[in-house]
């Protein structure tokens, strides 16, 4: 009797132990998940907090006097002459004019030379080029006074976004007291406004933070990914179909399989070196071009696509192949009619994941000269270009404060693209997945 009691007691203890073990396991699991969520939130939160202001910018609206004497005194209407006019002087004179008028009303006196010099820094250094562009587009404006809205200097933008500490001594600040009081004054006069930062999406890179945009990098990424997709998808699908369905299973195919798996784990910089040696040095493809970069990314994506495609093909039940073969379909027919359509969602998912990986890749492109300061927006796959992550890397290196929010904003755009691509992968998988 007592023996049985002892045994029962032991069993009870064992059961209690098993339950507590399970509870602990679940607890640890939840802990791990919450930690991940917290870190992710902190990461995303800090990026969004820094980057969200990068989507707005500060503009200054003022009158520009397009003096015919300074631009085209002989009325030639020749674009060459007009383009080499003294645009800096025209711009500065107009700015001084505007400021002096305001000062006359306010203080009843003209600004000193030193004041003028420091106040002109509130305007973007690129103002003269933009005014020139406006005139070049419409020569009839010469001789008139036009009202323009141009980006303010990045420091003004940063000041209004509260990123410049006014309590610092004047010498340590990017803006001196006169500049700050004028900014406040111009804000009151509606000369300075905060608008959506369209430059971010319509311009290439620039040394001036207020002028810099990601369009060049976006186009570069687009072209490079296009090349990558066009090369790696067909190659990857064909290679995986051949290896999975047609190739004999022997030592050679085993070696190939092992090597493909190894390639997927090769550090991406190595692919960059390979690309440098082959695409640039042997084939003489244009340096920094999305063509060369896309080829390197294709090399890098290929193993990922092959592995996921093979997995997708393997997941097609053999009974489907047997059914087709049993009806007298050739191997090729059983593959194209039945296996491929069933494996396609998996293949597409793998491809998109591979492309998303390629989109975030910087290291191999470093070797191809795509991590470079390139102002022009690339128009084709052979133009010099940079890519989004490279642009982020370059901006993060800039000392000016204005680039900090740009960096975070560009990261947000990149993450947005990655999320979109992954959502597309999920969508395609759900749409084309067929049950059997």
């Amino acid at each position: 009797m007592t023996n049985i009691d002892v045994l029962e007691d032991k069993k009870d203890k064992l059961i209690a132990k098993r339950y507590s073990k399970e509870k602990r396991f679940i607890l640890f699991g939840r802990l791990a998940i919450s930690l991940t969520i917290i870190f992710l939130t902190i990461l995303l939160g800090s990026i969004v907090l820094r980057g969200i202001s990068g989507f707005t910018t500060t503009t200054i609206t003022f009158d520009v006097n397009l003096d015919k004497k300074l631009i085209d005194p002989e009325s030639t209407n020749d674009k060459k002459i007009i383009s080499s006019a003294r645009w800096r002087k025209i711009t500065r004179d107009s700015i001084y004019n505007v400021l002096n008028e305001i000062n006359l009303v306010m203080n009843g006196e003209v600004l000193s030379k030193a004041e003028q010099k420091s106040l002109v820094r509130l305007f973007s250094r690129s103002s003269e080029y933009q005014i020139k562009d406006i005139v070049m587009d419409d020569l009839s404006l010469i001789g008139k006074t036009i009202n323009v809205t141009l980006p303010a200097a990045s420091e003004v933008d940063q000041f209004l976004k509260g990123r410049i500490d006014q309590s610092l001594p004047e010498d340590d600040r990017p803006l001196n007291n006169i500049q700050i009081s004028w900014i406040k004054h111009m804000v009151d006069n509606d000369m300075i406004n905060r608008t959506f930062n369209s430059n971010l999406f319509t311009k290439g890179d620039s040394r001036n933070a207020e002028e810099a945009g990601i369009l060049g990098a976006l186009m570069g990424s687009f072209f490079a990914l296009l090349i990558c997709l066009l090369i790696s998808f067909p190659l990857g699908v064909m290679a995986s179909v051949y290896l999975e369905e047609f190739a004999p299973k022997n030592r050679l195919t085993d070696v190939i399989e092992v090597n493909i798996n190894n390639l997927a784990a090769v550090p991406s910089i190595v692919f960059g070196l390979l690309g440098l040696a082959i695409f640039l040095n042997v084939f003489n493809l244009p340096r920094s071009s999305p063509l060369a970069g896309g080829l390197v990314l294709a090399l890098m994506t290929l193993p990922t696509i092959i592995i996921s495609s093979r997995a997708a093909i393997k997941a097609v039940p053999p009974s489907i192949r047997e059914a087709a073969m049993g009806l007298g379909a050739s191997k090729m027919q059983s593959v194209t009619h039945h296996v491929l359509p069933l494996a396609m969602p998996g293949m597409l998912t793998g491809t998109i994941i591979g492309l998303a990986q390629a989109l975030g890749e910087t290291a191999p492109l470093l070797m191809m000269g795509m991590v470079a300061f390139i102002v022009d927006v690339p128009q084709s796959i052979t133009d010099p270009a940079t890519v989004l992550p490279a642009q982020i890397f370059l901006w993060s290196d800039q000392p000016e404060r204005g680039f900090e929010e740009k960096t975070a904003a560009a990261i947000m755009v990149l993450l947005g693209f990655l999320l979109t691509m992954n959502a597309l992968a999920v969508f395609l998988r759900n749409k084309f997945e067929r049950k059997w």
Partner: protein
């Protein structure tokens, strides 16, 4: 009774999986318009032999078949034989219903389509209807031919697979445990169907279900460990077998 014509003449067939021999020297004659049942414990080689008849074993790299199998006096083990042609003559129904994840119509129409058996759509429609009718499925699915073939019940799926096999108008239908995944009612339907089909086709069925073999077949072959132990009229095999092993197996003493 009309004279029994030989449809398949299996002579001296050995099958190897790599070094392992799966079938030992089997001689067998399958008669036309009869149901022949292959019985035997698991792993005895009955499915392997069945898959020799439409060369499905070719899909397995390590599988080697020797001997001769004459289908209407043509050796189908000939290396030069066109497999596509063979498989239109020898249809197969598998253990698990395996309709394509396509519409019911496309499932049946697939064979005629790839072999170019039909001139136009109306002819194809006819073949599909005829095949589904022969498989006893027409009345159940005629209003939903465009629904996926995977969406009907298991028994219906298996009959769809039979319809698909007969759509290419074969001479022989191989059935590899066609009822093992079906419930008794669906099984009964398939068995009835086999009785119907044998008027036009020669049927070879592999089964684990002894009662089924007894119910549906004229001839029964009993295999054990790759050897053909006994072959004869089903009645004789089940009532007075010559071999002790056969006796033991059908009375349930082993297997």
């Amino acid at each position: 009774m009309i004279k029994e014509q030989t449809k398949l003449d299996i002579d001296n067939v050995d099958v190897f999986y790599g070094k392992k021999q799966a079938i030992f020297n089997v001689d067998l004659e399958i008669k036309k318009n009869q149901v022949t049942a292959f019985i035997g414990p698991s792993g005895c080689g009955k499915s392997t032999l069945l898959r020799c008849f439409n060369r499905m074993n070719d899909l397995i790299d390590i599988c080697k078949v020797s001997g001769s199998i004459l289908l209407d006096s043509v050796n189908i083990l000939d290396k030069k034989l066109d497999l596509v042609r063979l498989r239109t003559k020898v249809g197969m129904v598998f253990q698990k219903p395996n309709p394509f994840p396509k519409s019911i119509y496309d499932n049946v129409a697939y064979g005629p389509k790839i072999h170019g058996l039909c001139e136009d759509i109306s002819e194809l429609d006819e073949v599909v209807e005829k095949s589904l009718k022969s498989a006893g499925l027409w009345n159940e699915v005629k209003d939903r031919l465009n629904e996926p073939g995977t969406g009907i019940s298991g028994g219906q799926q298996q009959r769809l697979c039979i319809a698909r096999a007969i759509a290419t108008n074969p001479d022989v239908i191989l059935m590899d445990e066609p009822c093992s995944a079906l419930d008794p009612i669906a099984t009964a339907r398939v068995e009835e169907l086999m009785q119907e089909l044998k008027k036009n086709y020669t049927i070879i069925v592999v089964t684990h279900n002894m009662q089924q073999a007894a119910r549906v077949s004229e001839k029964t072959a009993f295999f054990h460990l790759g050897h053909l132990i006994e072959f004869g009229n089903t009645e004789e095999i089940f009532t007075s077998p010559n071999e002790i092993k056969t006796q033991d197996y059908i009375t349930g003493r082993f297997g």
